[in-house]
Structure formats: C-alpha cells, structure tokens
C-alpha cells in the first residue's frame, strides 16, 4: 500500500540579485549639484527646453543635452494629487499632496511633496518654493528639499505654466 502524499500546491523561491547601480552621467552631475543645494538642469540644443532632473538627452528631440542651466527653487504646480492611502514603508502620513512642479527656468516637471498648505485649495498654476533641510544634512538626493510650500504670489495662467523664466513670475 503506497503512502498518501500531500499535494504540493506552491513553492517559495526568493530571488536576490546584487547590483552596483549608477544613475547615469547627466543625473550624476545633477545629484552632485543637489548636494551643494543647487538645482541644475540641462538645455536641449534643438528645442531649448530645460530638463530637470536631466537624463542626458531631450526625450522629444532625441539629441544629447550638454549645456547646464541653474534653475530656481521656486516652482509652479503643473498638476497634483492628494494621497489618502497609506503606502507601506512610507513614513509620510496621509493625506498628503504630491505634485508635478516646474521650476522657474525649466520647462519640464519633476515630482515632489507639497506641505504647509491647505490640501483643499491646492491648484494648478499655484506658486510654491522649496523648504530645504539644514545644510549639514544635504546628500546626493532630492529629499535635501523636505517639501515645497505655497508662495504668496499670483497664479501662473495655464498657457504660461512651464514657461516661467529663472528670474521668476511677474504679472
């Protein structure tokens, strides 16, 4: 009489691979300057758009970007979302606002947190500025900026979002 065996319905096979990841030459230059408290993007020689953070190419033109351009830490809200669901491992407690922000002097947005704001009145075109960590805590990372907070400036109209010069928004 053969022994009854329990059917195997699943196996656990953890995968663990180790990598020495590199950010890319353009991004590495960007992060070195973030370490110094500066936001430095790159300009496309073909369409003149300034990218931040730079990837080394203009995604629209497919050409290398080499000219470095320092942009402001004042930004315009291009779009945003209010997060109500806690994300495991994320220390930030909901509800919080994440936004696509376009710095003055750049043309493409990056994502960061908005805080010190009324979540219900956050809006597209709103003007915000970076709140930096103390200098001694700066590292090669965008969270040198704790978050962005609203500025007391008039809104940027839709058609001008992404076209604000590095000198700032003047009505």
């Amino acid at each position: 009489m053969s022994e009854e065996r329990e059917m195997i319905t699943g196996i656990e096979v953890p995968i663990y691979l180790k990598y020495h990841f590199t950010a890319g030459e353009a991004t590495a230059r960007f992060l070195s300057q973030v370490r110094q408290g500066k936001l430095v993007g790159q300009r496309c020689p073909s369409c003149n758009n300034v990218y931040l953070p730079p990837r080394g190419s203009c995604a629209a033109c497919g050409v290398a970007t080499t000219e470095e351009v320092e942009v402001a830490d004042k930004c315009t809200v291009e779009s945003f979302t209010i997060v109500y669901i806690p994300i495991p491992g994320n220390p930030i407690q909901p509800p919080y606002v994440i936004a696509n922000l376009i710095p003055d002097g750049a043309n493409i947005s990056f994502i960061h947190l908005l805080s010190e704001c009324d979540n219900d009145t956050v809006h597209r075109g709103q003007r915000v500025q970076a709140v930096w960590k103390p200098q001694e805590e700066w590292d090669y990372a965008m969270d040198n900026i704790r978050y962005f907070k609203p500025l007391d400036e008039p809104d940027v109209p839709s058609e001008s979002i992404g076209k604000v010069p590095v000198t700032g928004w003047e009505v």
């Binding site: 691979l17 990598y19 890319g24 030459e25 190419s57």
Partner: protein
C-alpha cells in the same frame, strides 16, 4: 513579399564597464551614427523603431522605457521592444515591413551588464520551478555542455583553444570595437588553468557594456535614398525546450532547422558571423550550419572578443551586412542565440543586391 534591405549599422566599443553612463547615454551615439549613415537625421525619419534589451542586466526596472529617451519618441512614432536580443527586434521590424505597416525601421539593442553578476543574473532565465531555484549560472551550464562533447569525443580541448586563438587574431585585425584581441598560440591557451572545468576563462565571452543600431527598409526605399545596401534573403528562428535534460546539448537542432528555412545552403557562404558565447558552442554551430573551410567564420572575432548581451545578435547581422555594403563579399550568414546552451537560435542569410 517585399524584399528587405539593411542600409546601415553602428556599434559601440565593447567595454567591461561603461561607468556612470545610463542606457540613453549608451544608445544615443550608435543611433545617431546608424541614422547618419543612412542619410537620416532623427527616428521620425523611419516608420518604425524596435529595441532589444533586458532590465535584469542592469537591475533597473523599465530601463527599456527610459532608453526611448534616446529616440525623440513623440507621436506619431511607432515604437516597440523585445525583452530579447535586438536580432529579434530586427525580426519584428521585418514582419512589420512585410505586412505593409512600415517601409523603414530603426532597430537597436543595448546592454549594461557591468552592474550585476551576469552569469548569476542569467540563471533567472531558466525554468522557474526546477532550475532557476538552484541558481544554475550560465557558465556552469556551458561547462556541462562542453564536458558532454569532450566525453563523446566530438571535439578536443585543443579545438576549443583554436577557436579562441582565431577569435583574438581576427579581432586584432578587423574589429576596432573588440574588448579582447591579440596574437595567442593554442599551446599558450591550453597551458592556462581551467576556470569552470573544462572551460578556461578564455573559452567564455567577456562581460561587456555597449549598444548597436541598424537601419533597414524595403529595397525600393533604399534605392530612393540612394544608399548601398545588403538584402535579407532569408531569416528564421527556432527554439528548443527549456528542459535541458530533454535536449541533445552536443548539437543545435534549432539552428539546423532555422538554417534550412533561411536557405543557407542555396549558395556559397563567404562569411559567417556566429553568436557563440563559449568556444565549444562555435564548434556546435559551425556544424549545425553546415559550414566548411570555404567560409570565413567570425572575422570580427565574434562575441569571444566582446559580448554586448541583447545587442550581440544584431551586431552579428550588422557585421555581415556591413561587409556586403562595403562590397567585400556577396553572400554571408549571421546567427544569433538566446537562452542557456544555445536554446533559441536565429539564422539570417544576407546577399548583395
């Protein structure tokens, strides 16, 4: 059915470590160069683009999407990707053109293998129930294959060393992008210690970073552009089971089948570029392809001189196409492989117009 022409090819140097460069920074120069040689300026000048890469190599999810930043991929671009060697991206582009959905295409492949431990990373391409959990690396599997060949007497260690010596010599003479090249005698190679027995280090292709790119189109389009070209007269690919125990590892049945369909034996083969990551695999493949002494095998040195995972297969095709475009030869074949122990093989026959 429309005849398809390869009009240009470009490949980067094979380097052990491309440093900080990301995928975009690896791809952009070869795309620029391939487009330029075809008389084009941007990816918008072709009807279709397709890339080949594998995110596991650099350990970055969606690296293939980020790679598109090198193109200028804005609408109405038609863009696609294969998680395979770019030789299969070429195959997709050929189907696209033959179906009449495009007249021209840009194909590129890139690999940044230096961030990880490639032989171990590649263990994850094995079947997920029996082999991948054992973490069998590609070098060990190739060593097992070589051992079977030695035990069956279908080759000797000196035959393997002869493949390596010829690769190094050809790379020195013909391949400015090679990572490994030089004059080395068979006796010298055999005097070295084994690494994963019976393989010595030099029996294994090096780990390389880099990219390659190609422009292809209908023959009518190539004439319109006024560029010299090579015609793809046959292409086919076949795959064998993932169960290594069910395969005869000492031969490559899938290569034999693909070669027959691609029409390899319809004429003399002057040059064959073969994707053989291990020296003994070149012996298996030259037999499977039915090549004799009239064929020059791997004039570039093949991938023993530098292996851009996910671009090397496309580069084999490019190497042969370039020789036809330059007017050096009239007919040649290129082979690409994928998977452990030559599991999946693609054969392309190229001819002068």
């Amino acid at each position: 059915m429309k005849d398809i022409a390869i009009v240009s090819f470009a490949q980067s140097d094979c380097v052990r470590n491309a440093g900080a460069k990301n995928e975009v920074e690896l791809i952009m120069p070869v795309i620029k160069s391939a487009l330029g040689a075809a008389g084009l300026s941007t990816a918008q000048d072709v009807d279709f683009t397709c890339s080949g890469s594998c995110d596991y190599q650099q350990g970055a999810a969606f690296a293939f999407v980020l790679g598109v930043d090198a193109l200028g991929a804005v609408p109405p671009i038609k863009e696609s990707h294969v998680e395979m060697d770019a030789a299969w991206a070429l195959y997709e582009a050929i189907l696209k053109i033959r179906m009449g959905h495009a007249d021209s295409a840009l194909v590129y492949g890139f690999g940044k293998s230096s961030p990880g431990e490639l032989p171990t990373v590649l263990s994850q391409q094995l079947d997920p129930y029996y082999l991948a959990p054992l973490w069998v690396d590609t070098v060990s599997l190739a060593a097992m294959q070589a051992r079977m060949m030695l035990d069956q007497g279908v080759m000797e260690e000196a035959d393997m060393a002869a493949v390596v010596a010829r690769s190094r010599r050809n790379a020195l003479a013909n391949n400015p992008h090679a990572q490994l090249k030089g004059e080395v005698a068979v006796e010298q190679l055999l005097a070295e210690e084994t690494w994963v027995s019976p393989l010595r280090k030099h029996d294994c292709c090096p780990v390389s970073d880099g990219a390659s790119a190609m422009v292809l189109c209908t023959v009518e389009k190539a004439r319109e552009w006024g560029k010299p070209y090579a015609v793809i007269s046959g292409i086919d690919h076949r795959i064998e089971t993932h169960n290594l125990g069910a395969r005869d590892l000492t031969r490559s049945v899938s290569t034999e089948q693909a070669a027959a369909v691609a029409g390899v034996s319809d004429g003399a083969i002057e040059v064959a570029e073969i994707y053989a990551p291990y020296s003994h695999q070149e012996i298996i493949l030259t037999r499977a392809l039915g090549l004799g002494s009239e064929t020059v095998v791997n004039p570039s040195g093949g991938v023993l001189a530098g292996n851009l995972m996910m671009a090397s297969g496309l580069s084999r095709i490019g190497e042969v196409a370039q020789r036809i475009i330059n007017g050096d030869i009239k007919r040649g074949l290129a082979h690409a492989t994928s998977g452990p122990c030559l599991q999946h093989n693609l054969v392309t026959v190229l001819e002068a117009a």
